[in-house]
């Protein structure tokens, strides 16, 4: 069985004026260590789905399992990364990274040591006492990832984590973050609008329909390339085929 399992998850938002059916019977299974990418039209409910998995909102129906056990919240095995890096401007980089530990009251010696290891390993040592405004966009996103990893989550949810960066930085940062996630052996579920980015990162791509989101199609991404990284993936011969397939799938929105 999978690491993370969504079983018939549905979500309807209610307001006084109307109700918005956003997710309809979503069934997803993500294996341990797998990198799954969700793509779908704007406003179809991708962020909603991640928020449900993170426990920020309760689905109207359906269950979520982690390691085959029903997930109960608050759950400290799930980390969430947003489109904006949401670093706290009034805290130093180091204090940003240990924020989660502080809130969970887990500032133990081992955890602080672990935080320092990650800081060192991923090249942030010399920036520890800087403030977020002194860092570049790509660097900030790296800090945001380390901040999540410090809590040692088993699953990472990433909601368009690179979309605020310019194209060049975006390629570099996605490569970097992919490598970190793989090196730390995390399972990842990511949302993106960028098909090429999806293919370059994903083990599997799930295409969602427009609202209410249903699973439309899944693609297992198999690239005949050695030492796959997001940057090298783009050179794989299969890359453009996947691109066209997914493009067509997304293009069929309203039919």
């Amino acid at each position: 069985m999978g690491k993370l399992t969504l079983n018939n998850v549905s979500m309807t938002y209610h307001t006084l004026h109307n109700e918005t059916k956003t997710l309809e019977d979503i069934n997803i299974k993500v294996d341990d260590g797998e990198f799954v990418v969700l793509v779908g039209p704007s406003g179809c409910g991708k962020s909603t789905l991640l928020s449900i998995i993170a426990g920020l909102i309760t689905p109207t129906s359906g269950e979520i399992y982690l390691d085959d056990k029903i997930l109960s919240y608050p759950c400290n095995k799930i980390g969430y990364m947003f489109q904006k890096d949401t670093l706290f401007e009034w805290r130093s980089i180091y204090k940003n990274i240990t924020l989660g530990l502080e809130i969970r009251k887990e500032m133990t010696k081992e955890n602080i040591e672990f935080a320092n290891t990650l800081i060192e390993k991923y090249g942030l040592s010399s920036f520890k006492n800087y403030y977020p405004s002194q860092l570049s966009g790509g660097m900030r996103q790296r800090v945001a990832l380390i901040r999540t990893l410090v809590l040692n989550p088993e699953i990472l949810l990433l909601d368009e984590p690179f979309s605020a960066l310019d194209y060049h930085t975006r390629l570099l940062v996605s490569d970097e973050i992919y490598k970190i996630i793989k090196a730390e052996g995390k399972t990842a579920l990511m949302v993106t609008h960028d098909i090429a980015e999806a293919i370059s990162l994903a083990d599997r791509i799930i295409v969602l329909s427009s609202r209410p989101a249903k699973i439309k199609k899944e693609f297992n991404i198999k690239l005949s390339i050695e030492d796959r990284t997001p940057l090298t993936s783009r050179n794989a011969p299969e890359f453009k085929d996947y691109f066209n397939l997914i493009w067509k799938e997304l293009d069929k929105y309203d039919k």
């Binding site: 969430y80 947003f82 904006k84 949401t86 706290f88 805290r91 809130i103 809590l151």
Partner: protein, 265 residues
């Protein structure tokens, strides 16, 4: 960033800016001197009536006379203390109420229209009622000062609270933060600049409250001196009090601005 050897143009630029700034300062001082001088001269030549508009030399004399009698410092001290208590308590109590409203959306919604009405109401109008309630004395003055700044504080601090990026709150929630932790780690630090700038506004409001309060009830303070001076037709005393008032109000404002610039970079 800065070159070790600044270029000629840069040096020129710096000296031009400096010259301009010196000119501005000199002009300011000059205006003040001219104003005081013409006041003194026109009063001496009886072009204006010194009984009605006073006269710089008489103000200075009154200053030394009152200083000798030893009351002036006391009056100034009383007014300052009332003002400081007024704006600090206004800011603290206002922030606390804003926190309560932030914590309970229900209370917030219920009180919303009342806040709007109270905000629109000129608080000075409550003066006589407050005096009736808390008595004819210093507490009444402080409460008038506090009432003036309280509602504005609640409203602007609460606006600051609601201004926090939703994603930041979501983030700490995924860390397992409860509502108090959201407040402590996100909302309060994020709103600190708002709270401090509210403090700055409250300094001004508190002065208004204290002076009006002293007009109404006081036996001491600069506001009392102003009213008393008016009643005994001592315009020198009134003018002196007003001048002291503006200098001290400016100093207090400058101190709070300094605090602000330390916290808000």
């Amino acid at each position: 960033m800065i070159n070790n050897t600044p270029s000629k143009e840069h040096l020129d630029y710096i000296s031009r800016v400096k010259r301009r700034n010196t000119l501005i300062t000199l002009t300011r001082i000059l205006i003040l001197i001219i104003f005081i001088a013409q006041w003194e001269i026109t009063a001496r030549l009886k072009i204006v009536d010194p009984f009605l508009v006073s006269q710089p030399s008489r103000i200075v004399n009154t200053f030394f006379k009152l200083m000798q009698e030893g009351h002036l410092l006391r009056h100034t001290y009383v007014t300052c203390i009332e003002t400081i208590i007024g704006f600090i308590s206004g800011t603290i109590i206002g922030t606390l109420i804003a926190i309560i409203l932030w914590l309970s959306d229900f209370i917030n919604k219920v009180l919303e229209p009342y806040l709007v009405v109270l905000n629109a109401l000129p608080k000075i109008a409550l003066g006589p009622i407050l005096i009736f309630w808390v008595g004819n004395g210093q507490p009444a003055i402080i409460i008038i000062a506090l009432t003036i700044s309280l509602i504005v504080t609640i409203i602007s601090v609460l606006t600051g609270f609601n201004d926090v990026d939703e994603d930041m709150i979501k983030l700490v929630k995924t860390f397992g933060a409860n509502k108090y932790q959201v407040l402590r780690y996100v909302v309060l630090p994020h709103s600190l600049p708002t709270i401090i700038s509210t403090l700055k506004i409250n300094v001004g409001l508190s002065w208004v409250g204290v002076i009006v309060g002293e007009f109404l009830v006081a036996k001491e303070g600069l506001g009392f001196l102003i009213v008393f001076g008016g009643q005994v037709a001592q315009l020198d005393m009134v003018m002196l009090s007003i001048i002291i008032l503006s200098i001290i109000a400016y100093i207090m404002y400058a101190i709070v601005s300094k605090i602000e610039s330390i916290y808000i970079k």
